[in-house]
């Protein structure tokens, strides 16, 4: 099966093409096309994963572009990391395809939605099986296209338009970093193949400057895609897209691509201490930065979006602390529980027709399935013992601690506290207490939406058990043939601390929002400044508006003036000068022989002088 792994991305692509062409005729039956084809991908991916369990890495390449005597290739590769990713991506994609059948029901552009989902899934799966940096970059951009199209799905809404544009441009800023880093590596190594790059690293054929520079530049690309500070602002805005999209793209798969990229190029990062530090610090900072914003947001999807940013920061922190397995492990568990949370949030939005958590409440009884499933997701992300997030977060904390990043370790612990707090704040505000909604006939979503959530709910619990303190099953498989740690060994008090912190967060949220023993504005009224800053997301958007956007507008204006007045002005004055000379010339044509004689002699003199100076030879 591994020999034909390239088929896995192809099925969703077929779905894209088919739906683009005949979607209009199929109407809502389009969903079946999309579901069927992603399901085939999923089955295939499972088969490949099963086979890769025992078989060695498989790779194939074909010549794609010849530049001089360099052959660039395309192909595919199945290794431990991407076999796992194939399953995660195709599984979440299939579940979202299913869920969207209910969620998007009645939408005028239903087939288009499924077509775009197909395109995205194709690009994401293609990204995952790429054996070289160039191909990764190509799918990386196509993934961005899919994300752009789906964020802007409600194209008539100004917010959606702005969000789509912002997402595309901000990720592109990162992508340029990736492009430069990739080209620098290519010029040094002479190949884009991961294998060749790693071989060159091992033989010491790459100068340390280039290693550090290209690693950091490539990381800039990851920062853009994974919504890390300072390129994170597009991700919360991306919530303008339909909720299934938020679950698939902006929680489980695409935003994790940055983490995946750093993991894929892990040997490159390992070779540069500076690059590792950069990854760890950016990740750690983003984790606590985004978590603190999440504390005060009131839009259910935005809280989840900031939580995604924060969790991605965690993964980066793990990778930067040499926690290769920890980063990937958390990527996987996060994909499941965050997709679950988004789908459940979508189910809630579907029921109450608002995203404002102030207008929800009391849904526990009305949504028999959604509520407990949301609770599972919340427990998982909060690191509640024995849920998947508990194990993966623990791995990250261990990695940070054992790598000697005490500062980052403390940051990560605080961020974990924040996470537990704001997630349970969300849970209590949405499901507990009195109903504050204006919608009276709140009812559970149809089964087609609930079933995918159930699958994810199960995974959000059990997926943690592939890598526990008692057995590093996943880690041993992922790190086979390398010298990376399958499992970070660290003091056992870390797990206890993590548990306590998470329970404290939950308890505090319960006291304020569940039991309401503490007034809600108890803290915000004491620190109004901080509250405002958090509410306004640290004014990052405003800062960009005042600096980058102003500067761009100013340069454009400047060029406009240069073009209109300087360039055009010179052209005009040349024309005027020509006209002037013509006028003088015509005045010379006055019919007097003396004048003609003078002109002739002067001209002759000039010619003689030129001849004398140059010697008649140029």
């Amino acid at each position: 099966m591994m020999e034909n792994a390239w088929l896995i991305p192809l099925f969703p692509f077929v779905s894209f093409v088919v739906l683009l062409v005949v979607g209009k005729q199929l109407k809502e039956r389009s969903a079946y096309v999309g579901m069927l084809l992603t399901f085939i991908s999923l089955i295939y991916a499972l088969g490949v994963l099963y086979e890769r369990w025992t078989a060695p890495t498989y790779k194939q390449a074909y010549t794609w572009l010849t530049i001089g005597n360099v052959q660039l290739t395309v192909g595919f590769e199945v290794n431990a990391l991407n076999a796992l990713m194939l399953v995660v991506v195709s599984l979440v994609s299939f579940l979202v395809h299913t869920y969207a059948k209910g969620y998007m029901h009645g939408d005028e552009r239903f087939p288009v939605f499924y077509a775009y989902l197909g395109l995205f899934t194709f690009a994401m799966l293609g990204l995952v099986i790429s054996p070289n940096l160039l191909q990764t970059y190509m799918f990386w951009e196509l993934v961005g296209l899919g994300s752009f199209l789906l964020i802007g799905f409600y194209f008539y809404k100004e917010e959606a338009k702005a969000a789509a544009k912002k997402a595309f441009i901000m990720t592109r800023i990162g992508d340029v970093g990736l492009l430069i880093g990739m080209i620098l590596l290519f010029l040094e190594v002479g190949s884009f193949e991961y294998e060749a790059i790693f071989a060159a690293l091992q033989n010491g054929n790459i100068s340390t400057t280039i290693i550090t520079l290209s690693a950091i530049l490539i990381f800039v690309g990851a920062v853009g895609k994974s919504g890390q500070f300072p390129l994170h602002t597009w991700l919360p805005d991306a919530m303008e897209g339909p909720t299934p999209v938020s679950a698939l793209i902006h929680a489980a798969t695409m935003v994790a691509a940055g983490v995946y990229l750093v993991a894929t190029l892990f040997p490159l990062y390992e070779a540069s201490e500076t690059a590792m530090m950069t990854v760890a610090y950016v990740g750690g900072f983003t984790a606590i930065f985004a978590a603190s914003i999440g504390l005060v947001q009131t839009d259910i999807k935005r809280v989840l979006a900031y939580s995604t940013v924060s969790q991605l920061g965690y993964m980066m922190l793990a990778l930067g602390s040499a926690g290769y397995v920890a980063g990937i492990f958390h990527l996987m568990t996060h994909a499941f529980f965050k997709a679950l949370l988004f789908l459940a949030a979508g189910s809630v939005i579907h029921a109450v027709h608002t995203q404002n958590i102030e207008q929800m409440g009391g849904l526990w009884k009305k949504m028999k399935w959604t509520a407990p499933l949301f609770l599972i997701g919340t427990l998982a992300i909060s690191g509640f013992p024995l849920f998947s997030g508990f194990f993966s977060k623990d791995e990250i904390l261990l990695a940070a601690w054992t790598h000697g990043h005490v500062g980052l370790f403390i940051v990560a612990v605080i961020a974990a506290f924040f996470t537990a707090f704001y997630m349970f704040r969300l849970f209590f505000l949405v499901f507990a207490g009195e109903a504050r909604t204006n919608v009276h006939d709140v009812h559970e979503s149809p089964m087609v939406m609930v079933l995918p959530m159930i699958v994810l709910g199960v995974l959000a619990v059990v997926s943690g058990y592939v890598q526990t303190p008692w057995g590093a099953f996943l880690g041993e498989w992922l790190t086979e043939g390398t010298n990376w740690h399958a499992h970070a060994e660290g003091p056992s008090w870390i797990m206890i601390v993590a548990t306590i912190v998470s329970l404290c967060g939950i308890a505090l949220a319960w006291l304020i929002y569940g039991k309401q023993a503490i007034a809600r504005d108890w803290l915000s009224s004491r620190f109004p400044m901080t509250y405002n800053v958090l509410m306004n997301k640290y004014y990052v958007d405003e800062f960009y508006g005042l600096t980058v956007m102003r500067a761009t507008a100013f340069i454009s204006l400047l060029f406009e003036y240069i073009d209109r007045f300087l360039v055009e002005g010179i052209a005009r004055s040349l024309a005027a000068a020509t006209r002037g000379i013509g006028r003088i010339g015509s005045r010379l044509q006055n019919g007097q022989v003396q004048m003609y004689g003078t002109v002739t002699i002067v001209a002759l003199a000039i010619l003689v002088v030129i001849f004398a100076v140059t010697g008649g030879y140029l």
Binding site: L65, G68, M138, F155, V176, L179, I180, L184, L557
Partner: protein, 505 residues
Amino acid sequence: MQPYFLSLLIFSPLLGILVLSLISKEQEKAIKWLGVLATLPSLCLSLFAFWQYQNGYDISQLTEKRSWIRFGDFPFLRETDFTVAYELHVDGFALVMIVLTTILATLAALASVSIQKEWKGYFQLFLLLEIGMLGVFAASNLVLFFIFLELTLIPMFFLIGKWGYFEKEKAAYSYLIYNGLGSAVLLIVIAILFARTGTANIAELRHILTDPIAQMQTISPISDDLRYGLFIALLVAFGVKLPIVPLHRWMLRVHVQAPPSVVMLHAGVLLKIGAFGLVRIALGLFPGQFQQFSTWLIVLGVVNLLYGAFLAFRQTDFKMVLAYSSVSHMGIVLIGLGSLNEAGMQGAIFQAVSHGFIAAFLFFFVGVMYERTRTTTLARLGGMAKTMPYASGFILAGAMASLGLPGTSGFISEFMAFVGAFRAEPWLAAIGTLGIIMTAVYLLRAVLRITFGQTTVTNVHDLRGIEWVPAISLLLFIVIIGVYPNVLAMPLQTTIETMMNGLGG
């Protein structure tokens, strides 16, 4: 293939001109069909040649040569001195450009259905323009090159001046003056070279100018200073065409005022003559000077790229956005050429071809849009995704190709040009990458303004009938090159090798 294959290819539109002149000018439908039909022979011939070439046919067999003009008859000169032959030949690069021309000519002829008046004259001029363009790419001596170049100038002047929009006359004159001056400079260069060496054949000139022994034997050797002067003159002459900032003002007017079907050819092919001339003549004849000047070429390229991009960001008319976008994209050609390595050169040529398709594609939709909404002002457009979903999808796809999304030809050319530039001048290249971001910024701003948001113009219909043909086929070419670039890279291999040899490896 026949010995007169290339002549047939170039002059086959003549047949159409003749037949058209026999038809009454009232028969709109017949004229339009004939106009399209007349572009087909050269399309078929060029595709046939390309296909043969791909299958290993030696393209140099197509060379044609007939004696034509002889200046003077001096006993002390060789028989061949001061003669100008009618001679044609193609290499991979020229063939690719010819294929581009014939494809765009047919599609632009299809897009000409929206022309409102005097179809007969329009199509006759249109076909004459095609002859000129094809001839430029196949000419193997400078005199013939020049004649064909001038042959494009005249029909274009009338096509803009007569069938354009409100300020068409001004645009036509602007076009004529700028390009006329460029041609004049070119003519001076040709005259000097011809007088000094006695030949106008590009290959012979190349031999004389680059080989030290041949240089000694020529009629009047050319000093380094003069070479520099001639090189700069060529840069100016082709810089007007390309255009290089600050010689670009004329092409903005043409982009805005000429009918979209003509702009398809203008942006698609005529601008590329600038690139072709730079490669074939400036680089071909003066590799040494080109090398000395290469850093400045990258500087000019980066200026073009950023200047065009920032200005495109401010425009209020979609056509102006695309016009400045052309300026910006031609910067990539200069960046690639200036980097003096395989990747850069190949990127530059790719960009010439790729931008040809993409610009034609986008301008085709400008025509489609204008026909329905009677405006291209961004502020008056919006929400077209609702009323014209397919057209909007195509426009978005065009914008994506233009901003270099992988999977489209735009990416390949941009990527290779930057690989080349990073090898040659990393810092300049790094500044240039700002252009990649800005391209996304201005294109999304313009295209989303048109397609997203609230619908302003209702009661318009989506693509229909014949309009699908240019839309689909152009997108197909863009995607094919993007997905499998070797389809274009392989035919260019020998050209690029020759170029690199000229540069001394």
